[in-house]
């Protein structure tokens, strides 16, 4: 039979048969069968063709013993049967169905005489080897795949098939497995086309005393298999899954009687455990797993295949199966496997898990599965801390964990998911506590005249002003804003005054319609990008439940704490401490002459800190001290030492801070030290103040210290800062009375009459929370990393600015006004993006002033970035951020270690990006959508 199958239909037999009339075929078939029966009966112990023993019994015993029971069958007889059967099968395959879909005569004969079943029993008589199974599987595969009439409707054909299949369960021979899965896949295709067979499959199983849906059960072991077999099995299962969506019986069976969902979910756990626990990171710039990364990792490929399969199942399966699978993934993979993996003890392991999580989020597309992952991140608590809080806290960690965490949040923000944005940022903005009470009405206001845009652009450091860039970089001059298309501009005319165009309607009404002004071309690109990203964000957010405009949901609605599940509420101090733990890293190298930090924190670890945070901190500190060597795999010593060196040099620059701080520290009791070190972040110190359990005395000292540190840190910038930061200045002077009274009622802009300091005179603001205004850990950690822009590496800054630009594109007025409205008056404790940008600008100006070669370095960095961009464009990547231009001339070499130079260039571009986003918001967010 094998040879027959192998030759298949290529040997032209079908063509030969075409000419033969059906009657002759029938006669031939019957003759062959008669010969076969002779041989069969000769070896049948009962010598009877009419009474068959119970097949399931035979099946069972044959399956278990596997040996011949009635003496060996001579080889010539076996091959004779095989030859006859070969011909018979061809005749059966080639037979077309009779009139009105009736069985053809051969098929009818096969059914009546129970040919297939008897043949199966016959093969059981003989040694039922893997080769035999293979032959039979191929036989059925050919029948199912090539027959011209439907065969599976007939029990006498279906039953022996099912028996064959069940005899193959638990088989180990790879060949048999391959053929089995192929046949199963084929059967599923038939089922998908003709679901009416489904019932028969169930009944046939029941006849055998089994309640299972055999085809399905046989496929399950192959779910997680790699290679073709696994893929075919998963494809076949998916066919059944989509069948289940319409067939309750199948759905119920799969959900209640099979281990499909648990196998699928726990399989993920199994595959996950075989992933490398530490990734070999190619370079410092690396921050997420790209396709070219994971394609090199077979175990990860396999995991992703299974994850994608889960995704596909959830997409097509019946809701019962979907819900069950999702629940198993949550309780069988995310909680027991991924959560602990996210809290491993070393930075590298945690970094690796974070990168995996990011990759998984980017792989999953089905909302129900995404929801599972997201609710795990947002709601699950590990050691009583939300996963989300832990992840946010890691943004500020040193080394790659921080960068990888940033990349994860970039993915999260890119999902346009209301729940994510609510937990990350919006819930802190809903109460509107971050702004002065009077400013609430400003939230929804549009920036008609690009005031915010202008203010953002005005932060451009003077060293990066377009005027200072030499021609190839300076694209100011290559576009004409002139609208006088008819009058070709004279290229020799460079005087702007010459090119004013007057449009005169002949009656003395003229208007200047645009002068030939040279524009920053790159800004046009930013506008275009901003437009795209805002409009897609607006579209995406149409499914959201609220507008987040300061009225919907109402500010009173969100009462932090009230919304926490009762009994699960955790003391806020933990979050705060934990979020800031990494700052202790910042502080630690400072204390050079004091007792080693690790011993200190080991002596008196703050009781509230969760264990994993403490461990992580220890690791980080050891890493910094260079004393950290983990097993043999730690290869980053060089990098660590570099970073430590960099850190030290920076600390020298921060000399005054250092002395100031260590002085004070000496006077502080140990337990407050962490809080002290953490408190460097001005934004968070109030939060700590409200929650810390220390005495008032200590608090006062502590606050005092913070204040001195803060003013110290921004001392120089402050003088310049005052001007741009004070929002009141931008407010217009008192306007005359409206004289066009008929319009006053309809004037849509609500901001009039409201003094920016109105809140001072508004008493008793009802319903306002008394807690210190805080825009949430995520925003503050982002801003505090942004503040360090000059010392951040280029790729960190690219990630940071990318995330902020993504956030800024969100159309929700609360978020938009918080990030982009430079006129909004915030509470004094709230730091705004604009303030941080102003601080960065001043840092850059300061550095530019102290270094003579700064302009030269800027140019080199610009060229470097330009070349980088060009290479991306060449590689087919998205064009975008930076201006494109001709290849740079001979470059002054610049090391990436000159972070402050790159930061200056990037900062300037980021300002343009933000400005463009602000400007597009003023248009796009107000376009009335078609109802």
């Amino acid at each position: 039979m094998a040879s027959m199958v192998a030759n298949g239909n290529q040997d032209g037999q079908s063509l030969v048969l075409k000419g033969v009339d059906p009657e002759t075929c029938m006669i031939v078939f019957k003759n062959h069968w008669a010969q076969v029966v002779k041989i069969l009966e000769k070896h049948d112990p009962l010598r009877s063709s009419s009474t068959l023993p119970s097949l399931s019994m035979i099946n069972h015993s044959a399956g278990s013993s596997g040996g011949p029971r009635f003496g060996p069958i001579p080889g010539d007889e076996a091959s004779a049967v095989q030859n006859y059967v070969e011909h018979m099968l061809f005749l059966l395959i080639e037979e077309g169905s009779g009139q009105a879909g009736a069985m053809g005569p051969i098929l009818e004969f096969v059914v009546m005489e129970n040919v297939m079943e008897r043949l199966f029993v016959w093969s059981l008589r003989r040694e039922f080897t893997d080769d035999m199974k293979l032959e039979q599987l191929k036989m059925y595969e050919m029948l199912v795949g090539q027959a011209h009439q439907p065969l599976l409707h007939h029990k006498p054909i279906l039953r022996p098939l099912m028996m064959l299949l069940s005899s193959c369960s638990g088989t180990v021979a790879p060949q048999v497995e391959g053929e089995l899965v192929l046949l199963l896949n084929q059967l599923c295709c038939v089922l998908a086309k003709d679901p009416s067979i489904l019932e028969l499959f169930f009944h046939t199983s029941e006849d055998q005393g089994a309640t299972n849906f055999l085809i399905f059960s046989l496929l399950i072991p192959f779910i997680h298999r790699e290679g073709t077999v696994g893929q075919q099995a998963r494809d076949a299962l998916l066919l059944i899954m989509s069948l289940s969506a319409e067939n309750n019986r199948v759905a119920k069976h799969i959900a209640e009687n099979t281990y499909f969902c648990p196998v699928l979910a726990t399989g993920l756990s199994g595959l996950y455990s075989s992933l490398p626990t530490k990734l070999e990171v190619p370079n410092e710039e690396w921050h997420c797993l790209h396709k070219e990364d994971w394609l090199q990792m077979p175990s990860l490929v396999q995991f992703l295949n299974s994850l994608e399969f889960c995704n596909a199942v959830i997409q097509v399966a019946h809701p019962d199966i979907r819900d069950q699978l999702v629940s198993y993934i949550y309780n069988g993979f995310l909680v027991p496997v991924l959560a602990p993996a996210l809290h491993k003890l070393t930075l590298e392991e945690v970094m690796t898990t974070t990168a995996y999580l990011d990759l998984f989020l980017r792989t999953v597309s089905e909302p129900a599965l995404l929801q599972t992952f997201l609710s795990f991140i947002l709601l699950h608590r590990h050691d009583s801390v939300h996963i989300l809080d832990t992840l946010v806290s890691r943004i500020n960690t040193p080394f790659q964990l921080g960068t990888v965490s940033l990349a994860l949040f970039r993915t999260l923000i890119g999902l346009y998911c209301e729940d994510v944005m609510l937990q990350l940022i919006l819930r802190y903005l809903i109460p509107c506590n971050h702004m002065m009470l009077s400013q609430r009405r400003v939230v929804g206001e549009r920036d008609c005249y690009s005031v915010s845009t202008a203010k953002i652009l005005a932060l451009t450091p003077s060293c990066c002003s377009p005027d200072h860039s030499p021609p190839p970089l300076r694209q100011l001059d290559s576009i004409l804003f002139s609208k006088g298309a008819e009058t070709p501009s004279n290229t020799s005319t460079t005087e702007e005054n010459d090119s004013f165009l007057e449009e005169d309607d002949g009656l003395g009404n003229s208007c200047t319609i645009g002068s030939e002004i040279y524009l920053d071309v790159s800004y046009l690109h930013y506008l275009y990008d901003a437009r795209l990203s805002i409009s897609s964000c607006i579209r995406a957010c149409q499914v959201w439940s609220a507008r987040y405009d300061g009225e919907d949901p109402p500010p009173e609605k969100y009462q932090p704490g009230v919304l926490e599940e009762p009994g699960l509420k955790k003391p806020p101090s933990i979050t705060q401490m934990e979020l800031e733990w990494d700052d202790s890293y910042d502080a630690c190298p400072v204390q050079t002459d004091e007792a080693p930090v690790e011993s200190k924190s080991a002596q008196q670890p703050p009781a509230e800190l969760p264990k994993h945070i403490q461990e992580m901190r220890k690791t980080a500190i050891m890493l910094v001290k260079g004393s950290y060597i983990e097993e043999n795999e730690f290869q980053d010593d060089v990098m660590v030492y570099n970073l430590v060196a960099k850190k030290d040099s920076r600390d020298v620059e921060r000399g005054r801070l250092k002395s100031n701080r260590s002085e004070s520290e000496e006077t502080q009791p140990g337990s407050a030290e962490v809080a002290l070190q953490n408190g460097l972040n001005f934004n968070s110190h109030l939060q700590i103040t409200t929650t810390a359990e220390s005495g008032d005395d200590l608090l006062a000292q502590y606050e005092e210290l913070i204040r001195t540190l803060d003013t110290e840190a921004v001392k120089k910038p402050n003088a310049d800062l005052k001007t741009p930061v004070t929002p009141a200045e931008e407010e217009e002077e008192e306007e005359d009375e409206m004289d066009f009274t008929s319009f006053s009622a309809e004037t849509p802009e609500p901001e009039k009459l409201q003094s920016p300091f109105g809140s001072k005179f508004v008493s008793g603001s009802a319903g306002r929370s008394h807690s210190a205004p805080f825009t949430g850990p995520f925003v503050s950690v982002l801003l505090s990393r942004l503040e360090n822009m000059p010392s951040n590496s280029l790729h960190v800054n690219l990630l940071l600015t990318g995330i902020l630009a993504k956030l800024a594109a969100y159309p929700q007025p609360l978020l938009r006004s918080f990030l982009l409205n430079t006129n909004l008056v915030f509470q004094p404790t709230v730091r705004s993006l604009y303030q941080v940008l102003a601080i960065v600008k001043n840092q850059i100006e300061e550095q530019a002033a102290t270094r003579k070669d700064f302009p030269e370095l800027i140019t080199a960095a610009q060229h470097w970035l330009l070349a980088r961009e060009t290479s991306f464009v060449a590689a087919g990547d998205d064009a975008g951020r930076m201006l494109k231009s001709s290849p740079p001339p001979k470059l002054r070499a610049i090391s990436l270690d000159r972070t402050e130079v790159f930061a200056a260039v990037l900062f300037t571009e980021f300002l343009k990006e933000l400005a463009a986003i602000a400007q597009e918001h003023s248009i796009l967010s107000y376009i009335p959508m078609e109802d």
């Binding site: 309780n331 909302p367 995404l370 929801q371 599972t372 609710s375 795990f376 947002l378 999902l415 998911c417 209301e418 729940d419 609510l422 008609c448 005249y449 845009t453 203010k455 652009l457 005005a458 021609p471 001059d477 290559s478 004409l480 804003f481 006088g484 298309a485 501009s489 460079t494 165009l501 449009e503 009656l507 009404n509 208007c511 319609i513 645009g514 002004i517 524009l519 920053d520 046009l524 409009s535 579209r539 995406a540 499914v543 439940s545 609220a546 919304l563 005359d736 004289d739 066009f740 008929s742 319009f743 802009e749 901001e751 009039k752 248009i923 107000y926 376009i927 009335p928 078609e930 109802d931």
Partner: protein, 293 residues
């Protein structure tokens, strides 16, 4: 451009032949346009090849607020775009405007008067916006043909807008208000300090004669409706008699568009996620969120 499509249904009973001739050409030329009424930055004229300025030209050009002067045009352009979106939002009855191709500072418009003394009047006009907008004077509104009206200059066709906005104030005054005002004057006649004293006097002394003069004026205006636009501009509003070959398809598309508003979102498969129950501020508060444990 779509903004113009919207004209048809509302003006059908008047003249269902409003068609912005060059609009189609423009649209084909730039298919990337989003179907909002938003006007984008003007395309770069083909003949205006990029000019490379000598590197040494110019001193740092800082404008008063510290921003580089090269961004000035962007601010102006976007301020006007913002104004234009406000106009769209207002859905002013019977008024349609379109910024010119050549300048965002010049808007073409048409106003349909549906009842009152000026019933059936179709008046084309042009709005001129000062280039120091929004800090300059009030925009001017000039009718193509001087309508017989106390507040319309009989020679220039300019409407006395300034009486309503004697000082133009940013944030408070908007161009839609000027358009609204232009509409109001035809329904509520004001004769104080007229630009057309004859009309003012007639209205006060001999309303019947005033009325007949208005009727004549309306007729005159409408008889010139199919004239070439006064200002040669691809975006100028021009009317032509109903021609099924030209207009039927456009009309058809307008109505189909109205029926399937999601259409233009296809191809860009961006969809957000939300499991927040409306009225709740809790994540995953929707009822159909599958249970996790």
């Amino acid at each position: 451009f779509l903004f113009f499509w919207k004209i048809l249904p509302s003006s059908n009973h008047q003249r269902s032949d409003v068609e912005e001739q060059s609009g189609h050409r423009e649209q084909r030329a730039s298919p990337a346009r989003l179907p909002f009424g938003k006007k984008q930055l003007p395309p770069i004229p083909k003949n205006a090849a990029p000019i490379t300025k000598p590197a040494s030209t110019g001193t740092p050009a800082q404008s008063a607020n510290g921003t580089h002067a090269s961004y000035g045009p962007f601010y102006l352009e976007y301020s006007l775009l913002a104004e234009f979106t406000l106009v769209i939002k207002q859905k002013l009855p019977g008024i349609y405007v379109q910024p010119s191709y050549k300048s965002a500072l010049m808007w073409f418009g048409v106003i349909f008067i549906r009842h009152g003394l000026y019933q059936d009047g179709v008046f084309k006009f042009t709005v001129y916006i000062p280039d120091n907008y929004p800090d300059g004077e009030c925009p001017k509104l000039v009718f193509d043909i001087p309508v017989f009206h106390p507040l319309v200059d009989p020679v220039s066709g300019e409407l006395d807008v300034r009486r309503a906005f004697n000082k133009w104030r940013r944030n408070h005054n908007h161009i839609w208000q000027v358009l609204m005002y232009a509409r109001t004057v035809f329904y509520k006649i004001n004769t104080t300090e007229p630009l057309n004293p004859e009309a003012a006097v007639l209205y006060e002394k001999d309303v019947q004669l005033f009325k007949s003069k208005v009727v004549d004026s309306v007729k005159l205006c409408n008889s010139h409706l199919f004239d070439q636009p006064k200002i040669d501009d691809p975006y100028a509003i021009s009317f032509s008699p109903w021609n099924p070959a030209v207009h039927e398809e456009a009309k058809e598309r307008m109505f189909t568009y109205k029926r399937r508003p999601e259409d233009h979102h296809k191809g860009t498969q961006v969809s957000g996620l939300s499991w927040v129950k409306p009225g709740s501020t809790q994540p995953f508060s929707k009822d159909d969120s599958p249970p996790q444990s």
